[in-house]
Every structure is written in structure tokens, then in C-alpha cells.
């Protein structure tokens, strides 16, 4: 069985809600049924085959070709299978996904991996604000799984992060790890202002020393035993995080945010 492939024929001016095109919705659907499925495009509803040419039958392996930054909600609530996006993706990529994996060749918009519960999300380009965050008004962001970004991320990475890991090979914007409840964010590049703002618990693992706010206390340099175990777990990733030379266990530890609960930590490679 070949992968179920959606190739974008035209780039609509309005944003498209791609949430119906996930593995569990397309499971056991006939090709004609998939072609006739409705998609919201701005204020209109269009058929899938008006926007995409469709080939292949394996609904557990979806490929979206010629994708661009107005295709929102790709992989929303994904429960199994894999989605590969060739090109950019819009906002809310992998929103609330519960399993499976999503791989994006290009860049993504806001709220990628927001409130995801489990699974694997890989973004090979850059991503927007609120990566793995919570939707406005909600109190919990990502609750499990792993997000890997090979480019840069925007502001508020892991806002309200509850559990799981966010790995970023590039840089992040401001307020990285803001309001974190728990979980782990690792950033190889630089971070913006207000790192760990109002974080309650959790770990920010940084390769470069950030501007540490006054509400974080320096706890000194330490060799931490859990870091080699964590790096060992990254060995299967297609990422710089998997390279043995990347691993370290000696860090400068800052505890905070003491303006909040104060049980979080910023660990900076020493």
C-alpha cells in the first residue's frame, strides 16, 4: 500500500482547516469519500479534491505535498499513524495530538504542538510562537510526547508546558518556558529575554548562558546524573541532540522562578 498523498493544486487566499485529514478520520474511507470530504477554507466549505489531487490508499501514512503556511490544524487530535508535510505548515500543527508522528519539512506557524498529549512532532524549519503551549485561556500546554525543532522557535516556547520534551536546535524568542508547570525544554541556540518567566517546575536546559532574571537564584555548578540518561534516550533521533559529542553532564543550576512556586530550574552547559 502506498502512502495516502494529498498534493495541493492551488494555493487558496484564505486559510484552510486541515483537521479532518488525520489518519483516524480517513481510516476505512473509500477514495471517493475522502475526495468529497468538506474542508473549511475561510468562510467557505470546499471539497478535498477541489484543493488537492489525491493518490495512494494507506491512511495510516499521510503525505501532504506542496503545503504552505495557510494550511492550519494539520494533524489535529492525531491518534495514530504518521503525517509528513512537504513544505510549510500553518498554525496549530499537531494540536492536541494523542499519538503518532508528524514531520514537517519546512516552517510552521503559531501554536505548533499546542496541548499535544503524546507522540512525536518534528519541524525541520522554523516555528512560530507558543510552541507546545496552551491555547488562550487554557491552563495546560503540552502534556506529553516530544517536539523537535531543527530551526528557530518564536516567543513563549512551552507556555504552560505540563509534561514532555521540547528540543530546539536553533534559537528561541522571548519568554522561553514561561509559566511552565513541568517538563523539559532544551535549547542549543540562544534564548531571548525573560527565560523561564513564572515557571513553577520543570527544566530548561540551555547551551548558552541567557540573561537570568532576578527571580532565579544561582545554585552553583553541578554534575547531574540524570543528564547522561536523558541524552542517551535521544540517540534514536535524527538530530544534533543524538550526537554523542552533544551530551554533557556539568551544568550551572539556577532555581526559580521564585516569583512563582520556584521549583523549576535553568541548567546552563558549563
Amino acid at each position: 500500500m502506498s502512502a495516502l498523498t494529498f498534493t495541493l493544486k492551488i494555493r487558496p487566499n484564505q486559510r484552510v482547516d486541515m483537521s479532518p485529514l488525520v489518519c483516524q478520520h480517513l481510516h476505512e474511507c473509500e477514495p471517493t469519500e475522502i475526495a468529497a470530504m468538506p474542508l473549511r477554507c475561510g468562510k467557505q466549505t470546499v471539497r478535498v479534491d477541489e484543493l488537492f489531487s489525491i493518490s495512494g490508499t494507506d491512511s495510516a501514512d499521510i503525505i501532504i505535498k506542496n503545503s504552505f503556511d495557510k494550511l492550519d490544524f494539520i494533524g489535529k487530535d492525531l491518534a495514530f499513524g504518521s503525517i509528513t508535510v512537504e513544505g510549510d505548515a500553518g498554525a496549530y500543527l499537531g494540536l492536541s495530538m494523542t499519538a503518532g508522528n508528524i514531520i514537517v519539512d519546512g516552517n510552521t506557524g503559531l501554536y505548533a504542538g499546542a496541548e499535544m498529549k503524546k507522540g512525536y512532532l518534528e519541524i525541520n524549519g522554523n516555528t512560530g510562537d507558543f510552541l507546545g503551549g496552551a491555547l488562550p485561556g487554557n491552563k495546560m500546554g503540552m502534556k506529553g510526547g516530544l517536539i523537535l525543532v531543527k530551526g528557530n522557535a518564536g516567543d513563549r516556547v512551552g507556555d504552560h508546558l505540563r509534561r514532555g520534551m521540547i528540543l530546539i536546535e536553533g534559537n528561541t524568542g522571548d519568554y522561553c518556558g514561561s509559566r511552565m508547570i513541568a517538563g523539559t525544554i532544551a535549547v542549543m541556540g540562544t534564548t531571548g529575554r525573560h527565560v523561564g518567566y513564572a515557571m513553577r517546575r520543570g527544566t530548561l536546559l540551555l547551551w548558552n548562558t541567557p540573561y537570568i532574571s532576578a527571580s532565579f537564584n544561582d545554585c552553583g555548578t553541578h554534575t547531574l546524573a540524570f543528564l547522561p540518561i536523558m541524552f542517551k534516550a535521544f540517540a534514536t533521533l535524527n538530530s544534533r541532540f543524538a550526537e554523542p559529542a552533544t551530551a554533557f553532564n556539568r551544568v550551572q543550576r539556577y532555581a526559580g522562578d521564585i516569583a512563582e512556586m520556584g521549583r523549576g530550574e535553568i541548567l546552563v552547559k558549563h
Partner: protein, 312 residues
């Protein structure tokens, strides 16, 4: 059956079902991993009064441990799951948590989980930190199981941080495999047992829980004293040869026992075979006369280890 002049009795060792777990202790070097493991498995020779039977299974190279440091694998056996969990937790808390540079990990997978560091975390007084490493997210091809999703606790302690896995597995096991070495003198009996223990320590999944692996005070069920449920095995006591219904011939002056706990019957079979072979290799010329085994008539324990079948 006679091997190298040593008579193998047509009898069997009688063993019982137990619950077991394995923990891996690592430290800055093997010396300190071993010290922690020795402390954790101390006073654990017999369930009769120790609550569990425990021992060091083997030393682990850095490549074999979760954190890449030298380590030691320990096995703990108890009569029930509750007792095992209690012994594991108290021993981990008092002996491993306290030991410098140590870390503690699960050493066996099972659907039944018992706490390892799950409750020790409260020693952190609120400063403890959990880290969940979910391999199923890192590698979607993996099936979700206890071995792919692990929770660790980081407990701040005075020498740095005590890292421990939250739980370990509990498995069905067998305790009480044994054989007796009957010799013409005490030094010869001990030398033969030392040779057996050295060989048996290379067998995986077993421990010999008594001091140095050897018991000099094998017991029988019951006693003339109502308060005791076990007493000296007078049939094998050489000083009572003329006083009791003895099992010893006139030339036997000393008897020592090796008790084996193992994860499966096959493991104990192998350990007994390796041990008896080592004893028999010394042979009659070193004063070894007979190999026998302890049993209760076959009515109490469901596992029977027939010596002659094992050595066949």
C-alpha cells in the same frame, strides 16, 4: 551415582515459590557501588527472620548500566509481594540513598511494579524533581511498555543529587534450592563450598544468600521448643552421630549447605549443577564423600531438584 569418588544421593532439594526483584546500583566507582550493594543485601540470609533473602548477583560494567557508571546488580527475594516491596523500599532508603555517589535503577521488567524510589522522593522535602523519559515519543516504532516509559526521581542530597528510578518489576521466583556437602573434615568441607560458590557466582539470575554463600547450620522444620518453628538439622550434625537418627556415616565429620534462590527452575538447576561439579572436581582425594540435599519429604515445596537428574 558417583562422580570422582563423590557419591550423589538419590534425593532432592525442595524449594518454594517466592517473589523477586532486581535492582541496579551504580556509583562513582565499583568500590562504592559494591559497598552500597553489600549494605542493601546485608542481614538478608533467610526469610525466617530477615524478612527477605538478598544477594549480589554480579558486577556490571559501565556499558551495562543506565547511567554509564560502574554498577552492581542485586536480587531480593521474599515470600510475598507486600513483604518484598517493604524490604526493597527500606533497604533502598537506608542503604543506597545514604551511600555516597549512588544511583538506583530498576533491573527487571514486569507488568507488576513495586516502588523503588517512588516513595523515597519524599526525602527531598519538596525539592525533589521527576523526569519522565518516554522512549515511545522518541521512537514512534516502539510499543508502549514499562521499559519504554521510565520515571526518574532526582532527590537533592548533601553530596549532590540521588537519582533513582520510580519503580522496578516484581517477578515470580523460587527460593530454597540447595545441596549439602559432606566431607571428612571441616576445612575440606569449606574449601569445597568455596570452590562451588566461586563457580556458581558466574551463573546469572541466582543468589546464594547466606554468609559467603555457605550455611553451616542447616535447619529442619519444627523443634522440641514450641516457640520455634525451625531447629538444627540433627540428622546431619556430625557431633550427634551416636545420639540421633543420623544421616551420616562414620567418616563424615563436617557438613555444609549451599542455598540457592533463583528467578526460574532452570537457573537453579544450572547453578546446582555448576556448584556440584566444582565440588566433585575436588573429589574424594580432598575429603569430599557425599552430596545430599535438604527436603521436607516433598510435601511442602512444589519445586523438587533431584540431584541425580541435575547431574545426569
Amino acid at each position: 551415582m558417583i562422580i570422582n569418588g563423590v557419591s550423589i544421593d538419590a534425593t532432592f532439594a525442595e524449594a518454594f515459590p517466592m517473589k523477586a526483584t532486581r535492582a541496579i546500583i551504580t556509583a562513582q566507582n565499583e568500590k562504592w557501588a559494591f559497598i552500597a550493594a553489600q549494605a542493601m543485601t546485608g542481614f538478608a540470609t533467610s526469610v525466617i527472620a530477615c524478612g527477605c533473602e538478598a544477594g549480589i548477583e554480579r558486577c556490571l560494567s559501565p556499558a551495562e548500566t543506565p547511567d554509564g557508571r560502574p554498577g552492581v546488580a542485586v536480587l531480593i527475594f521474599a515470600m510475598g509481594g507486600k513483604g518484598l516491596a517493604k524490604q526493597l523500599e527500606t533497604r533502598a532508603g537506608q542503604c543506597v540513598l545514604t551511600s555516597p555517589t549512588s544511583a538506583l535503577f530498576a533491573g527487571i521488567e514486569s507488568d507488576i511494579k513495586i516502588p523503588l524510589g517512588k516513595n523515597l522522593r519524599y526525602f527531598g522535602d519538596g525539592f525533589q524533581i521527576a523526569k519522565v523519559i518516554d522512549q515511545t515519543s522518541l521512537n514512534p516504532n516502539l510499543a508502549k511498555s514499562s521499559s519504554t516509559t521510565k520515571r526518574y526521581w532526582r532527590i537533592p542530597v548533601m553530596d549532590g543529587e540521588f537519582l533513582t528510578e520510580a519503580t522496578t518489576g516484581q517477578v515470580e521466583a523460587i527460593g530454597g534450592g540447595n545441596f549439602l556437602v559432606l566431607a571428612t573434615s571441616q576445612p575440606q568441607a569449606l574449601a569445597a563450598c568455596e570452590a562451588a560458590i566461586e563457580a556458581m557466582r558466574k551463573v546469572p539470575n541466582v543468589i546464594m544468600p547466606f554468609p559467603g554463600g555457605v550455611v553451616r547450620s542447616g535447619s529442619k522444620v519444627g523443634s522440641k521448643y514450641k516457640a520455634l518453628n525451625a531447629s538444627t538439622n540433627d540428622a546431619f550434625c556430625p557431633t550427634l552421630k551416636g545420639m540421633t537418627h543420623t544421616d551420616l556415616s562414620a567418616d563424615i565429620e563436617s557438613v555444609m549447605e549451599i542455598v540457592i534462590d533463583g528467578l526460574t527452575k532452570t537457573d537453579i538447576d544450572l547453578a546446582m549443577r555448576v556448584g556440584i561439579e566444582a565440588v566433585c572436581a575436588l573429589g574424594e582425594q580432598h575429603g569430599i564423600k557425599r552430596i545430599s540435599a535438604g527436603n521436607y519429604g516433598g510435601k511442602l515445596g512444589p519445586f523438587h531438584f533431584h540431584l541425580q537428574e541435575i547431574m545426569a
